[in-house]
């Protein structure tokens, strides 16, 4: 199921690009001026983004090298504040598509890990260290630091809230 989903996603990416190229062909036939200004803007954006992609590739390789599902499973077994800290760090450093992590998280749930911790892990995944160069390119460092700190705080709040809601429901 995961493999099929991955193949589907890969195809969707190419279908999306093909659809956009088709739109450009139509635009070129109807309004060539709009087509050429759009291509000019596209070239400018791509050129400015390429160096950032190279940095992202290096950071992603480092993350893939150090953070494995075994590393995450090990630290879900911690207790108290250390558990929250490791879950947040694990979430931030975990890589790959979200659906790849669902089976592992379901397994941890079966082993007794509370839903709140799983929610915190999933929320922390929204903070992407390898993608920092892109966000820094568009926004400034002060904004990135504040956003990251607020998101970390909210990830814990969401975990606590989900634990309370589900305990109340039970």
């Amino acid at each position: 199921m995961i493999h099929q989903d991955r193949v589907k996603r890969k195809n969707i990416s190419w279908y999306f690009l093909a659809a956009v190229v088709f739109v450009y062909i139509v635009v070129a036939c109807i309004n060539f001026s709009l087509f050429s200004t759009s291509i000019a803007l596209f070239s400018k954006l791509i050129v400015s983004i390429i160096p950032i992609f190279i940095i992202i590739c290096i950071l992603m390789t480092i993350t893939h090298y150090f953070i494995t599902p075994d590393f995450i499973t090990k630290h879900f077994a911690e207790s108290g504040i250390r558990k929250w800290i490791f879950i947040i760090i694990g979430g931030i450093l975990s890589t790959g598509p979200i659906y790849m992590w669902y089976p592992l998280l379901a397994d941890l749930r079966k082993k007794g890990v509370q839903y709140g911790y799983i929610a915190t892990f999933l929320y922390s995944r929204a903070i992407k260290i390898p993608l920092l160069p892109v966000i820094l390119f568009y926004f400034n460092a002060k904004y990135v630091v504040i956003l990251t700190a607020v998101m970390i705080g909210i990830s814990v709040m969401q975990g606590i809230a989900i634990n309370r809601i589900l305990q109340f429901k039970q």
Binding site: W14, L17, L41, L131, Y138, L166
Partner: protein, 139 residues
């Protein structure tokens, strides 16, 4: 060394999957930027703290794709004059609310959990946007 090579291969594979999406998205942004008058953004986003974050979160929640795409779109929207609060809510909702992944998440982790997690993520994306922008402006 072998593991490092495997990590590099994994990175290349991950990138090869998202490159068509990023190129397509940048092509689309370039076209839309030239087509839509800047005044339209001003009509949708009226610099209202709550309403702008709500609209940003709603659009971010139904959008899907790698987080990098949301940063690029968010950055370009900011250049077009969309408020920082709307852009923040949009980016946070994009990466935390998973409407597209919802069926898969509910099958594997449970329907109740998936509903509560996505609903709280939506609400928190508005909270994150408001707190971040207030701290950024007045902190």
């Amino acid at each position: 060394m072998r593991t490092l090579r495997r990590s590099a291969t994994k990175t290349v594979l991950s990138f090869s999957k998202i490159i068509p999406l990023i190129v397509g998205m940048i092509l689309l942004i370039s076209l839309i930027s030239n087509m839509i008058p800047k005044s339209l953004y001003a009509t949708i986003f009226r610099k209202n703290l709550f309403l702008d974050s709500l609209i940003g979160s709603a659009i971010g929640s139904i959008s899907t794709g790698p987080p990098i795409t949301s940063y690029i779109i968010g950055g370009e929207l900011l250049k077009e004059g969309v408020s920082l609060i709307a852009v923040t809510a949009f980016m946070v909702a994009w990466v935390t609310v998973g409407i597209i992944q919802f069926p898969f998440e509910s099958i594997i982790l449970g329907m109740k959990f998936a509903i509560i997690r996505n609903a709280t993520s939506f609400v928190f994306s508005i909270v994150v946007a408001i707190i971040t922008v207030l701290l950024f402006n007045y902190g």
